[in-house]
């Protein structure tokens, strides 16, 4: 049997007008949803209807809609970024759902990520962790000579794997303890694996972990839900590496 041309979805969306507001779920009906739409496009259509009705549209973060910026994200039926593995919310398509499905949409839930409005959360805690040590100090000016810093293929690949983290916060959202260990582990590792990261290696991990703790993230319980939720496939090996580096 051919798939229906359009599907209807019942949406239960977390609505919270401001950080102090209590917030509640509101139900919307999304009709004539093309299975080829992305999840965010579906929300755009629903928002169009909400605006026509004179109500406040659902607020959600988005930017590139290509799965590379890390702006979007919501918990879809209990799963960060939805049911597909290694996919951001903007790259999740409505063909992943069936006609008549009910979808519960919630913001990332973490004390360190306070809700700004509806599905938008304040992820500046990640920025402060990066500011604490997620950088390298190098001489600026003329470009360095090519190949003056040899890097093994194994290290380059591992550093690149870590550097794929887009800082979306899905790891925190999925973690039973709202821990940011996968994010920090990836950011610590991407530098510690490369020669440019060596001078500040020891102090970096201490500063970043201290900042992570200060922001009120939980502790890692090695549940590895973060790895399952990460849209970029960052592995818990980087948490292991961070633990070893500290």
């Amino acid at each position: 049997m051919a798939a229906p041309k359009t599907i209807s979805i019942k949406l239960k969306v977390w609505r919270q007008s401001n950080p102090e507001a209590k917030g509640e779920f509101k139900t919307y009906q999304a009709t004539d949803v093309s299975p080829h739409m992305s999840f965010l496009e579906m929300l755009d259509v629903v928002n169009g209807d909400i605006i026509k009705a004179g109500d406040d549209p659902i607020a959600f973060d988005h930017d590139c809609r290509e799965g590379i910026c890390g702006s979007c994200g919501a918990v879809v039926n209990g799963e960060a970024h939805g049911p597909k593995s290694q996919v951001t919310l903007c790259q999740l398509h409505m063909r992943s759902f069936n006609d008549g499905d009910e979808i519960t949409l919630e913001p990332w839930r973490a004390s360190a990520f306070p809700v700004v409005k509806d599905l938008v959360v304040d992820r500046s805690a990640f920025d402060r962790i990066i500011a604490a040590g997620g950088y390298i100090s190098v001489k600026t000016g003329s470009a360095p000579d090519a190949h003056c810093l040899p890097v093994s293929k194994v290290d380059a690949d591992a550093a690149f794997d870590a550097a794929q983290c887009i800082g979306c916060g899905a790891c925190v959202a999925a973690c039973p303890n709202a821990s940011a260990s996968l994010f920090v582990g990836a950011k610590v590792s991407q530098f510690s694996l490369l020669p440019q990261g060596q001078p500040e290696r020891k102090s970096r991990v201490k500063k970043m972990v201290w900042q992570m703790d200060s922001e009120g993230f939980g502790n890692c319980s090695n549940a590895f839900a973060c790895e399952a939720a990460c849209p970029k496939g960052i592995t818990v090996d980087f948490i292991s590496r961070m633990n070893r580096e500290l």
Binding site: E106, A112, G218, N222, F224, A225, A229, V236, N243
Partner: protein, 223 residues
């Protein structure tokens, strides 16, 4: 002062003390297995431990310290974890295979083990080491046989040992990860080994009350 300890260090303290408690579990199990050898063997082992005197007290203090630190830092971490997500999800779905379930059970199995430990000490440590079987006092051996062949005491022992099995099934591979020695190459084997050793130890402990309950009154306890 406690807030200045990095989260990773707290987990590592829990891991180190957990390894110490695991060592105790192994030593205790090897001693317990002497029950299968008969009253002389078990009572002689108990006497040997008793004769260690200050060394035994040193070991006891170390064990108590490990236990207290393990529980204290776990409680600290659990409180921090609860604070880290004050607003709960309306819909939750475990991401991360079976491990999330084992992780969620850790505090409950931990509390179960602690509660049983108190019961266990009342059963065997803070009582006179006498136990009559068929009118003969077999000392500690008789006490163990009489207590654990009781379905309630033996049943609680089995429940507590299964809680230890579930606890160890996650804890052992978790220790390796917490110290930063786990990676994707060894992790699948590590998870399997953790399950096998964890439940293996639990079942080995369970064998004792199962044996004693099944033999109670049949005359196989003392040949």
């Amino acid at each position: 002062m406690l807030t200045s300890i990095p989260s990773i260090r707290k987990k590592q303290i829990i891991a180190v003390t957990g390894v110490m408690l695991f060592g105790f579990l192994l030593a205790h199990l090897s001693g317990n297995f002497l029950i299968f050898k008969g009253p002389e063997a078990l009572n002689a082992y108990a006497q040997f431990l008793h004769d260690l005197g200050p060394v035994l007290w040193g070991m006891r203090i170390g064990l108590i310290a490990a236990f207290v630190l393990h529980m204290f830092f776990t409680a600290l971490v659990v409180v921090e974890n609860v604070k880290a997500r004050k607003a709960r999800y309306a819909v939750t779905k475990d991401q991360g295979e079976h491990r999330t379930l084992l992780v969620r059970l850790m505090p409950y199995t931990g509390v179960t083990i602690f509660a049983y430990l108190i019961f266990h000490l009342l059963d065997f440590t803070f009582v006179e080491k006498t136990g009559f079987i068929n009118g003969v006092d077999y000392g500690l051996y008789g006490l163990v046989v009489n207590t654990l062949s009781n379905p309630i005491h033996g049943g609680l022992y089995i429940i507590a040992m299964l809680a230890i099995g579930v606890h160890l099934a996650h804890a052992m591979q978790s220790v390796v990860q917490t110290f930063g020695f786990a990676n994707k190459c060894i992790r699948p084997k590590l998870v399997q080994a953790s399950m096998v050793i964890g439940f293996g130890i639990a079942l080995a402990y369970c064998a004792i009350p199962i044996y004693l309950i099944s033999c109670a009154g049949s005359g196989c306890l003392v040949k």
